[in-house]
Amino acid sequence: MPNCNTTCPYCGVGCGVTAQLAGGQVSGVLGDGDHPANAGRLCVKGTALAETLGDEGRLLHPVLAGHRVSWQAAIAALGSKLQEARERHGPDAIAFYLSGQLLTEDYYVANKLMKGFLGSGNVDTNSRLCMSSAVAAHKRAFGEDVVPCTYADVEDCDLLVMVGSNAAWTHPVVYQRIEAAKQANPGKRIVVIDPRRTASCDLADLHLQLLPGTDAFLFAGLLRHLANNGALDRAFIDAHTSGLDAALDAAGNLDAAGVAQVTGLDAQEVATFYDWFTATERTVSMFSQGVKQSATGTDKCNAVINCHLATGRIGRPGMGPFSITGQPNAMGGREVGGLSNQLAAHMDYDPADVDRVARFWGATDMAAGPGLKAVDLFQAAADGHIKFLWIMATNPAVSLPDSALVRRALARCEFVVVSDCTAQTDTAAFADLLLPAAPWGEKDGTVTNSERVISRQRQLVPALGEARPDWLIVTQVARALGLGEHFDYRGPEAIFREHAALSAFENNGSRAFDIGALAQLDDAQYAALAPVRWPLPASGPAIEPFCDGRFFTADGRARIVAVQPQAPAPGEGMTINTGRFRDQWHTMTRTGRVPRLSQHRDFFSISLNPSDAAQLGLAEGDLVEVGNAQGVVRGLATLDPGIARGQSFVPIHWSGQFTAAGGASNLIPAITDPYSGQPQSKFAHASIAPCAVASWGLLFSREPLVMELAYWSRIAVSGGYLTLLADTAAPATVYAQLARELGADCERAGYEDSVGGDWREVGRRGDTLHYALFLNRSRDALPERGWMTGLGSETPAAGEWHQLLAGFSAERESAGKLVCSCWEVGETQIARAIEAGADSVETLGAALRCGTQCGSCIPELRQLLDQAREDCAA
């Protein structure tokens, strides 16, 4: 079988991948050397894609009210419930909540159905959570949501400012390109602006570890500094912008010292950054969730963009403000109009736009105006105003702020439909109707990445079970509603052509988003479509946006937006920050299945500064509870000197499927940006306290288990799962509770030391170990994790099963904490290689292969090398 090129479904970098097919299966995934985003590179998540396929945990059949039903019955039920809610309560009582994981074609038909034929603007998407502040800022500044940069600019610039971005972990391939560019051009400077010292600081010439939420002061101060030092591009400002004076007024007299005071930075550091920015023409400011997920995210984005407009550093190679998106098709969703305040194809609810789109679609019931944004949408559901909600490809019970509110909303809404590829998610638990959606590799369509490149995602294997692509489900519902003639597509190619045609419809250069050149693709051309960057008008040259100084406002001028910087409201306790880990994706529904992706960071943990930990009496690995008025999370304390004092970092990936109380959103109040509606997901106040733990446990099991305990956290391991657990009850009590759930039909062997608080049990079915449970008062007394991880393939001789209860095997030596996920190289191995003389990332790579594939562990390898040097010197 030939290889097949497609696109990675994870982050917004949108890397091309080559799937190796063998025997009707995807046997491996490599970077596509011809794709402009990655040119063959791939991160560890992408490399492990083949391991996320298969039927483990998959939703394979429609399920109505807990019972498997036929597709016909499912579509009929959906149609009648939708119709009923709409007729009885009006179009505003129905809503779709979509996702940046959907393909453009899926997005397009869902958006068209709701906004053109059901009369409601209530289509929003989880992209609201990750980049809507960038959309709002782009529209305020440029008149249209246009990203003016490409990855090549990030390479070509002489100064790269990374604002609220830990690209080393969240956009690893872009980070690798930066790293390579810096190696090739040692004069290239990198400034990282982040309240945490992250892996991305590894490359930084300057890390500005500012107070959370104070970025706008830094950039307002920079604008003032540029003005005061004659660094403004007056010609560009006069010809192509408006609003500078008001923006400078708003910035006031912020100088480096004033900025230092409010941001908590050293004035000299601020001055250095300002000097570098002032002096460097080719500057790219790459900004991401760190500034967008804020109550003032739109202003922060504009504060960054302002500095580029005021210096004319936009629309030319190697410069510009560059918003990097989180999801694989957040951009495609924006192009389609999948946000509730958009209509379609970069047109909003301007009456002329509504009329134009209605004519194009032949709409029978156009939405009259914008619908509800995500947080408001779920608030409305909680208040009883939304009666029918269809959620596609996203897990709002975990990802939206104020999880308690979201759960109330899902519980109250009369009919909740969830289309997903995963059977058990925190959101699916609330569904009245579950629809099996075809995931990556089983469906066909297009996605757009952060640099406006449209790429094909191609079907590699047949859909499992009864799974169907989302576009097909939506059009079948449209047919059930009597709208078949408007949704009569033979396949995604027909939808894409219509989408392209709409982008060009009565455009004439008025909208940057124009892919009219693709409206005439025949099926074969669509099938073979190579990655292309928009704009792609049907006629005339395809020019990079803003290279001619023309913007998409009514007067063609960009706006320098007056930004009044605001610090977050003060509050009690620690400041909570949230974010991603290197090897996980979103709520782990796919990456959580891959053993090697759970080794870099394993059990749900909360990071804090070692001095704060000492003050709280916390040691590494102790159980902590973080709580506020919204809710609580419980995790293991990770002591990280990269976290500033008074702050704490909670990773976003953990749902109720993987840990007891882990959703970072439990702590996040539903505070949103006034322009974008994007929630302030990276900022909350909460108290943090040690949890008294009477029992610790490690459980290897063949099946995933959800337990009623103060803490448990599960990872996939070879042949099963490994769960770390802790509780306030004594081991005997925890054992009694777990013994009921474990081991039906198992032959058991157990060990108990009730006075010592030491309980162990193994259960086997025939020659196969089914589970192994170790409980102890002390975590240190539990078996080594590496030993537990190998239990999936453990088959003792018949008389030796009880020896497993020793929780120990002299033969196996642990590789230590996994550093390189690609080649599965652990700390112990690396330490040994360093002892044996490896003294650089390259020599380590030569010896162990670590860091030689995706490269995302290189910062850690450097750290280990530095540590070893310090230890040597000490």
Binding site: R748, Y751, D753, S754, G756, G799, A806, F808, A810
Partner: protein, 416 residues
């Protein structure tokens, strides 16, 4: 001038004394007198012979040459030459005159002695029910018993063993292997209750049941029934139940053979009283093994008897040796392939470490951070180490986490 030593009884105790003497310089010419035809065989393995798992040749405890008929009696002038050993088998000593220092045998022969050792062993305790003269009521104590039992037709016939101690279970295993439909009756609800605890007994019982042996526990025999030909046909239990049987074997404990000593005016209680040098109340007369009683203690297992033999041999040879003292002798057995080990005290009120499952039961008892008892069924690895820990009395400390898995695991975990 060489001295004459007479050992009365040619069982395992006698064999151990001979083994020990062979290691020492002495001036003793030894005469061993036994009433069985075979002398000094390993009685512990008899049940294996019954089961067909060992041959009779496997029972030998002494060099074959040692057992050959005695050389013509010649007084050897040199006292440093090795002493002779003469076996007189198939006859019983009928009387001992401690003043005249002679032992008279049933066959009329007389054996003068300078020193005499009682190694008369023990007999099967007499059942509390009248079954005299009934054909099919057997005992299992000697090689001859084993031969006779092996000669019986077994298939389709029902054997009842009374007593689920070591001897009863071993006999039951043997009979079961021979093809008898075998059932064990026991007064206590727990088998081997002297050595094991309730759970250990239950584990062993499960193992034996898996091999086809049946159990009736917490019952006693009330009566034995025979047919008109005087042949056994069944028993009645104290709960009224009747069990048919073709063979009835009593293994309800042992009784020390003390009559001969008592007749000779030597102090006896349950057994022949000995001191820490194995001396009886008569000068130059000693006793060891199952027939002896030290303080309140009688003996049934091999380990203390070996220790007695060492003390006694030294005493006889005039060599320095620490006196005999009671130790906690661990019980190490193998019943029907199931390993059993027991040491120390099984104090239910102390701290317990328990491993169960996979056909294994292991329990360690700790008090004040010290190991005081151990019972192991199905896997007795680490037993010797536990004995050392129990008698050494050292603190367990970090060894605790892996203690029940034996020395290697325990020490490795403690070091980690």
């Amino acid at each position: 001038m060489r001295r004459k030593l007479v050992i009365v009884g040619a069982g395992m105790a006698a064999a151990y004394v001979l083994q020990e003497l062979a290691q020492l310089e002495h001036d003793l010419d030894v005469t061993v007198i036994g009433d069985e035809t075979e002398a000094c065989y390993n009685r512990v393995l008899l049940s294996n012979v019954l089961a067909g798992e060992n041959s009779e040749a496997d029972l030998a405890m002494l060099e074959p040459a040692m057992l050959e008929p005695a050389m013509p009696e010649t007084d050897s002038p040199e006292t440093d030459s090795p002493g002779t050993v003469q076996f007189v088998t198939g006859t019983r000593v009928s009387a001992i005159d401690t003043d005249a220092r002679t032992a008279r045998c049933a066959d009329g022969s007389e054996h003068p002695f300078d020193a005499l050792v009682f190694a008369t062993g023990a007999g099967v305790a007499r059942p509390g029910v009248d079954c005299s003269g009934i054909i099919g009521v057997e005992v299992f104590r000697t090689l001859r018993d084993a031969r006779e039992l092996r000669a019986l037709p077994a298939r389709g016939r029902r054997a009842l063993v009374v007593g689920a101690g070591l001897l009863g279970l071993e006999a039951a295993h043997g009979l079961n292997e021979l093809g008898f439909d075998t059932r064990v009756l026991h007064r206590n609800p727990v088998i081997m209750n002297r050595q094991l605890d309730t759970e250990g007994g239950a584990q062993l019982q499960r193992d034996l049941e898996a091999r086809g042996i049946h159990f009736d526990l917490g019952v006693q025999i009330a009566g034995v029934a025979a047919d008109d030909n005087g042949r056994l046909c069944g028993v009645t239990l104290d709960n009224g139940e009747r069990l048919p049987a073709d063979l009835l074997l009593f293994a309800t404990g042992i009784t020390p053979n003390i009559e001969l000593a008592a007749q000779a005016g030597i102090a006896t209680a349950r057994g022949i009283r000995v001191d820490e040098r194995l001396r009886t109340s008569a000068p130059g007369v000693y006793a060891l093994g199952e027939c002896s009683q030290f303080g309140e203690h009688c003996f049934g297992l091999v380990a203390p008897i070996r220790e007695q033999a060492a003390v006694l041999a030294a005493q006889l040879a005039g060599v320095q040796h620490p006196p005999f003292c009671l130790q906690d002798y661990p019980t190490q057995l193998k019943i029907s392939g199931v390993e059993i080990y027991r040491a120390g005290e099984l104090d239910d009120a102390a701290e317990q470490l328990v491993l169960r499952g996979n056909g294994v039961y292991r329990r360690l008892v700790l008090r004040d951070n010290r190991l005081v008892g151990a019972v192991l069924v199905g896997d007795k690895r680490g037993g010797t180490w536990y004995s050392e820990l129990i008698s050494g009395g050292g603190e367990i400390g970090a060894l605790r986490a892996g203690l029940i898995f034996g020395r290697d695991v325990s020490e490795a975990l403690a070091a980690a």
